[in-house]
């Protein structure tokens, strides 16, 4: 047999006449399926097929991971449906050829096996995964606004049945090793010591490839298919809206129509993905994915790898930061003045770990790393010290001055303040360059964004270190110049105030919230204010009032004075029963709806423009990233400025003028809009 040379694949035949086919994508640390890689793969199959070996094993030659999926950067170059279809058909043809091979085929999976990677593995007869904690297996395409397009939807349903198969694809859920085995997506999970041996043994055993049990396959037939499709749509509707996120709905459509015809389904699947890929929603979601990657690259680590974190102040924020850091593998000290302040934090940590880790041995391991530290014994061992005490300049300053002398030379000294300017806190420090803001959002375990706050005095190396610390604990760092409210709270505040003005005008809280949720926000502004706590909203608003020329609604002050603080006190704008707001049905006409939406959203956009003018973040993309990961600004819109651009920057600015005429100065378009108009 002639030896062909491939760029991304490597073939070896072992003594048992089994071909080992290693994927090793050139000039990339991870394996992704670009069209070039797929083309070669198609050729690889032909070559191996001609050789007629005893079997073929596909494995990764990279240190980490099998295949991460399709090449997302290539995605952004797709211009139209035809383009997309060409790419998809490449995959389809290659995988169909793989499936049709006359000898047994097996995918040997370590680390991540996602999207196109799993679709490739599904076209093999067998799948064996390495049993370790790095295993991530799934078809998360919906998160990018598409659904599996290389035959994965048909093959996954064929393997595990429609209920589990559809659920996995609709939610874009990825599985760990244990779940991948119990769901039947892989045949075996094996420890490192048997991993390489297991492939050839399975090939020689040659059992029938696994298929979903027959009783589940009945659901692929009519009329059950229609019933299940209806149920699945119903489940989706509870969480998302079709016009925001069409991909999962399209997947249901494809299956409902062709669920009992494998060939037709493959064809329909490709067509559907080709359409979706050119849809705005998908393009924006891909954008969000790339923004996320950019935030992660935001570290220029000088090899700074913190292992020990010390948090001072065990309140909600401090306690949750500490428990999160311990969960992410750090040794953590949590300090407060008295045990009674620390105890609730330990309880919350234990709940979080139970939910996340389940296994008592793992929970105990993390709890052992979280040291309740009344006396601050851990302080001088810490690589990162985060202050999360009461928001009082004098008390904080005193603390920092005291801390400065006790820390190791390379320890990050950070504050989690949400309202105090960094400049005010560096007074009296021997080295003011050292203090950096690491501003987490509540709840820490769910909010991905962390604002890295710096002032003119802050040293670059400390900003970078803070960024790499955040990356190491699985959060997304966004450098923000110190200024009242920083980025996220500042942009949210005018929006929350507008919601309260609307409410004072007599529009029901339910209506206001519905408009925001219909727009795509995860929660309406009124409920958000209640959830954050009205006292906190008020103090943030007061803090910003001067700078942003805010009029704080009297109603808000009255409610706080009366102790109506929102969810935590049981009543705010809503009444709460068991922590759930008691909502009435909302009514509003279409025109009114549009007006409310613009009043809310344009206040966000206008403040975004102001922040760009003040250069609080590096560029508009970073601002979009901040708003998406810090507030849940609708990802399918690609961020506030992306939304403004797609609506037309000029149109936004003139709409602001209109609103200003009607509702007053607060809608005065920021000067920066003119610059944005010029740029387009």
């Amino acid at each position: 047999m002639e030896k062909k040379k491939y760029h991304h694949w490597k073939l070896e035949t072992d003594d048992d006449n089994i071909v080992w086919c290693y994927i090793d994508v050139k000039n990339s640390s991870t394996n992704v399926l670009s069209s070039e890689v797929l083309d070669e793969f198609s050729d690889v199959i032909d070559t191996v097929s001609a050789q007629a070996p005893a079997g073929m094993i596909i494995a990764s030659a990279k240190e980490k991971g099998f295949i991460a999926g399709a090449d997302i950067k290539e995605f952004t170059t797709i211009e139209d449906e035809k383009d997309a279809l060409t790419l998809l058909n490449r995959g389809h043809d290659a995988f169909s050829k793989l499936e049709a091979l006359s000898f047994p085929t097996l995918a040997l999976i370590k680390g991540f096996c996602l999207g196109g990677g799993l679709e490739l593995a599904l076209a093999c007869d067998y799948r064996i995964a390495l049993d370790d904690k790095n295993i991530r297996i799934g078809l998360p395409e919906v998160l990018l606004g598409i659904h599996p397009g290389f035959g994965g939807s048909m093959r996954l349903i064929r393997l595990v049945g429609p209920i589990l198969g559809m659920q996995l694809m609709l939610q874009g859920r990825t599985l760990d090793a244990r779940k991948a085995k119990s769901s039947g997506v892989v045949d075996y999970i094996v420890p490192e010591r048997q991993f390489m041996k297991s492939g050839p043994i399975q090939i020689q055993r040659k059992p029938l490839p696994k298929r979903a049990p027959r009783h589940l396959n009945i659901l692929n037939k009519l009329p059950f298919r229609q019933l299940l499709a209806k149920y699945l749509r119903h489940q989706l509707n509870k969480k998302i809206k079709q016009r925001h996120y069409p991909a999962p709905y399209k997947l249901i459509d494809v299956w409902e129509q062709y669920g009992d015809n494998e060939k037709a389904m493959l064809k329909a699947e490709a067509l559907s993905v080709a359409k979706l890929a050119n849809n705005k929603s998908s393009r924006n979601l891909v954008r969000v994915f790339l923004l996320q990657e950019r935030l992660k690259e935001n570290k220029h680590s000088d090899g700074f790898e913190p292992e020990n974190v010390h948090v001072i102040g065990a309140g909600v924020m401090g306690g949750d930061i500490a428990s999160w850091c311990a969960l992410q593998g750090m040794q953590v000290g949590l300090q407060d003045r008295e045990p009674k302040f620390i105890a609730p934090a330990i309880q919350r940590a234990s709940k979080l770990y139970k939910r996340r880790l389940k296994h008592p041995r793992l929970i105990r391991g993390v709890m052992d790393r979280l040291l309740p530290d009344l006396n601050g014994y851990n302080l001088n061992k810490a690589d990162v010290v985060i202050e999360a005490i009461v928001e009082n300049v004098e008390i904080k300053k005193e603390l920092f001055q005291d801390l400065e002398s006790k820390l190791k030379d390379d320890t990050i000294l950070a504050t989690n303040t949400s309202s105090i300017s960094l400049e005010l806190l560096t007074d009296g420090l021997k080295d003011p360059a050292r203090l950096v803001g690491i501003h987490f959002f509540n709840p820490v375990s769910r909010m991905q964004l962390v604002e890295i706050i710096y002032s003119a005095k802050t040293g670059k190396e400390w900003i970078e270190r803070a960024q790499s610390f955040c990356c190491q604990i699985g959060r997304l760092p966004l450098p923000v110049k110190s200024s009242p409210g920083f980025l996220v709270n500042r942009i949210l505040t005018p929006y929350l105030m507008e919601a309260m003005v609307l409410h004072e005008e007599g529009i029901s809280a339910e209506t206001i919230d519905k408009v925001a949720v219909d727009f795509g926000l995860p929660m309406g502004p009124v409920e958000l204010a209640d959830t954050v706590g009205l006292d906190i909203c008020l103090s943030v608003a007061k803090n910003l009032a001067e700078k942003l020329e805010l009029n704080i609604p009297q109603r808000l002050e009255d409610m706080v004075a009366k102790g109506m603080l929102g969810k935590k006190s049981g009543s705010g704008f809503y009444l709460y029963k068991n922590g759930e707001p008691q909502k009435q049905a909302s009514q509003s006409s279409g025109i009114q709806h549009r007006e409310i939406e613009d009043r809310l959203v344009l206040r966000i956009l206008n403040e975004c423009a102001a922040c760009l003018r003040e250069e609080l973040v590096a560029d508009a993309d970073m601002l979009d990233a901040g708003m998406i990961f810090g507030t849940g600004f609708p990802p399918f819109l690609g961020g506030p400025l992306n939304y403004a651009r797609s609506r037309g920057v000029k149109e936004i600015s003139s709409r602001l003028d209109e609103l200003k005429e009607k509702y007053g100065q607060r809608f005065t378009p920021d000067a920066h809009w003119e610059k944005l108009v010029e740029e387009t």
């Binding site: 000290g333 105890a343 105990r364 040291l371 851990n378």
Partner: protein, 434 residues
């Protein structure tokens, strides 16, 4: 290795450089919030965090524990790993019943003296509330035969042999507190001593009340800073020994019924030590380690000794263990500034005092020409003892050594003796100087 041993020839004493313990938590009938290893880890974490050396620099970890749970085989190694000492620090466990926590210290002392170790974490832990209920022999046999029956007929036959009585559990804790050789439970051995030395119920109860009041006073005066706060998963924290009864009074104790010799006995739950969970550690160091890490010395261990006696009189273990140390170092009672004799039972501590006062006992049992004299109560268990704070069996030995270091420090004392009685008829003693 050889060189190390030679160097150690100059090592005369072993230093205690720090220590800590959990609060002692009274058992409430259900398993407490912490297992034995949880207790050890939570006492040890802050202790290690405040040291100038890293946990990995320890030479070994030794932990005494009488009844670790089935998941805690070699609990000493489990504690070492969970404390972040790393895989290279060996960990082992010792069991000498009530003497386990003192045994671990003695093992550390010996290893430092012979040059094997320079820095040792030694202590004891016990979660008595977690002591298991076990199936009895009859049920275990029945189940074994059932499991190995191959045919349905055999299985059925075995099922028919089942009797509900087979399910009556064995309470491991009660078995553990009963002497398997002479068949007396620990409370009954205290009754034996009360009879031998004529200790009255009134005297026992008065002693017990005093123990509670002393412990309460010690907590109030902030003399218990050896305690590290425990936090559980339900948002509760524990910062003091919760067995203490501040309102304890002789009239109240007089109402309790005897707990062991139920009809005519005198030893009650009120004048005995409590069933309790807790852990205690000390850090032991050689001269070299003290210099290398600039460790503060809070006490030095001058001598240790173990003794055996009749299991029925195990409560006199302390006098048998202490006497040889007193003789060897030519010490009189007045030379010792502070004493800790673990309060397994009030009757037992009082009997120890009586034994040293009685010349016939000292002559016949301790081979002394005359009586030793009387240990003054104001120097004995000055901050209360196990009657008030409980006796987690594997822990108490380490606790009294640690606490004596603090007592010497607080009162500017020089010499102290810690001693305890051990179920099965033994005693252990440690002589400490500051």
């Amino acid at each position: 290795m050889v060189e190390k041993t030679r160097k150690s020839a100059s090592q005369k004493y072993v230093y205690i450089v720090d220590g800590s313990r959990t609060p002692f938590l009274r058992a409430t009938g259900v398993p407490g919030p912490f297992t034995a290893s949880d207790l050890a880890v939570n006492a040890g974490r802050p202790l290690l965090a405040r040291q100038s050396f890293e946990p990995a620099e320890l030479d070994e970890v030794i932990l005494g524990c009488v009844m670790p749970s089935p998941d805690e085989a070699n609990i000493g190694r489990i504690a070492a790993l969970r404390l972040g000492c790393g895989e290279k620090v060996p960990g082992w466990s010792v069991q000498r019943n009530c003497g386990s926590g003192m045994q671990s210290i003695d093992c550390g002392v010996q290893n430092i003296l012979n040059g094997r170790s320079d820095l040792v974490l030694a202590g004891g832990t016990e979660a008595m509330s977690h002591a298991p209920l076990m199936f009895n022999q009859a049920f275990a046999t029945w189940l074994g035969i059932y499991t190995y029956s191959r045919t349905p007929q055999d299985k059925l036959k075995q099922i028919l042999k089942f009797r509900p009585g087979m399910l009556s559990p064995i309470i491991a804790l009660l078995r553990g507190l009963t002497d398997p050789v002479v068949g007396l439970n620990m409370g009954q051995t205290a009754e034996v001593l009360a009879h031998r030395f004529g200790i009255s119920r009134q005297a026992m109860d008065e002693y017990a009340v005093n123990s509670h009041l002393r412990l309460a006073a010690a907590h109030d005066a902030g003399r218990m800073n050896e305690i590290e706060v425990l936090y559980d998963a339900n948002g509760k924290y524990y910062d003091h020994d919760n067995g203490v009864r501040r309102d304890s009074a002789v009239e109240k104790l007089a109402k309790l019924r005897p707990a062991f010799d139920r009809d005519f006995g005198q030893v009650t739950a009120g004048n005995s030590s409590q069933i309790t969970d807790g852990a205690a550690w000390v850090i032991l160091a050689s001269d070299k380690a003290v210099k290398k890490h600039k460790l503060p010395v809070i006490g030095k261990i001058v001598d240790t000794n173990w003794a055996g006696l009749l299991p029925q009189q195990m409560g006199l273990g302390p006098v048998h263990a202490m006497t040889p140390i007193m003789k060897k170092h030519k010490l009189k009672i007045d030379d010792i500034d502070y004493w800790e004799i673990n309060e397994a039972f009030a009757a037992q501590v009082l009997s120890c005092i009586e034994a040293w006062k009685e010349s016939s006992y000292c002559r016949n049992e301790l081979q002394s020409r005359s009586a030793f004299g009387e240990i003054p109560l104001e120097k004995l268990n000055v901050d209360g003892g196990a009657v008030a704070l409980g006796h987690p069996v594997g822990t108490s030995g380490a606790r009294i050594v640690l606490h004596l270091c603090h007592v010497l420090e607080q009162n500017k004392g020089k010499t102290a003796m810690a001693s305890l009685c051990i179920g099965g008829g033994q005693g252990g003693a440690v002589l400490i100087e500051r």
